[in-house]
Symmetry: C2
Subunit: 206 residues, 2 copies
């Protein structure tokens, strides 16, 4: 609509670039931003700026952090001998919400997907191997999503890590074909509890 004030048109267009925000939502949000108190809206603008400037990757586990180490890696209460390997940041958030896991994480930054041109070398697998050399890690829990790409990644990791550390895979409490971040918290917590050891020659431990 060319009859909207230009700054509003610009705001609606920028909001429309966000994931899950359609044109109608963008309009509704833009209107709310303009109509509510300027302090509230400027708080959002400031929060975006601060997050963009200060959020980076944890130098140890690769998850989002606002310092050299993420809050989990900084926490001395977390069990450094167990590392849960996930594909992405939102998987970490899902486990943290579930509160069933007290170890540390390792974020791969994706999963092996030949279709999308993602091979093992694009993932933080080298960093994981270096952690195994330096840190007193006793167990690695492979918590990639139960999707084709996630299972491929799990199999690859199992092969690479075999013999170096005790390996386990999330229990089959996780519904097959689902995205980890949409799994309910009880199921996630149970899946950590019921994890099973990966044995050589039986890549999925079944």
């Amino acid at each position: 609509m060319s009859t909207l004030p230009a700054p509003l048109e610009e705001l609606i267009s920028e909001l429309g670039r966000l994931p899950g925000i359609g044109p109608k939502s963008a309009q509704r949000i833009a209107l709310a931003l303009v109509l509510r108190g300027p302090e509230v809206s400027m708080r959002l603008a400031g929060a975006i700026a601060r997050a963009v400037e200060n959020v980076r990757r944890c130098e140890r586990c690769g998850q989002l952090a606002d310092a050299e180490l993420c809050p989990v890696c900084q926490d001395p209460q977390r069990d450094a001998s167990v590392v849960l390997v996930v594909e992405g940041d939102r998987d970490v958030w899902a486990f943290e919400r579930a509160r069933g896991f007290r170890g540390t994480y390792h974020v791969l930054g994706g999963s092996i997907s030949p279709m999308d041109g993602v091979g093992p070398e694009q993932l933080a697998i080298g960093a994981l191997l270096r952690r195994l050399e330096r840190e007193p890690i006793e167990e690695v829990i492979i918590a990639t999503s139960p999707t084709v790409e996630g299972e491929t990644t799990a199999t690859y990791l199992a092969r690479v890590l075999e013999g170096r550390v005790r390996l386990s895979r999330l229990a089959t409490g996780v519904p097959v074909g689902g995205d980890l971040e949409y799994v309910d918290e009880v199921t996630l917590a149970r899946a950590v509890e019921g994890r099973h050891e990966l044995r050589p020659g039986r890549p999925h431990g079944h």
Copy 2:
């Protein structure tokens, strides 16, 4: 989650205040803002700031504007003799999208709702009466919503404006493209009441 970096936590919380954005959406959007290029995200922060600073109300019709007058009131092509009276900004946007109206608007800023403590004096009705005195307005189309509050407001306006100007109300009837069986009974009854004669050679009665 206390294990998220503070700037990210802040961003998620601010995003969660926006209409229609739940906790999961707020997380997904925050992650996108942090992960995509900083220029793109800062463009959104800038757009919010510019909209909040520059968007105000049109001094004539009360809709959002970035100058004394809104783009519609500034446009000499719009017919100043017809004023369409609506409750809010998004009603204006809906008519502009529909492109069926070439007159000007008047935004009431709500509807009469004794339940919510909104009386006529809270709405821009006085401003409308002043416009009738100053401007060459020939017709006022009352386009409040077909809700209880909207109808109450329409009835009030009709009483106040009676005798001062030609008054009309939006047609009520069956929405175009809708399935008859899903149309509510009141709308159906009104559509029968307001039926128009079909004339030979003018198949849709136009």
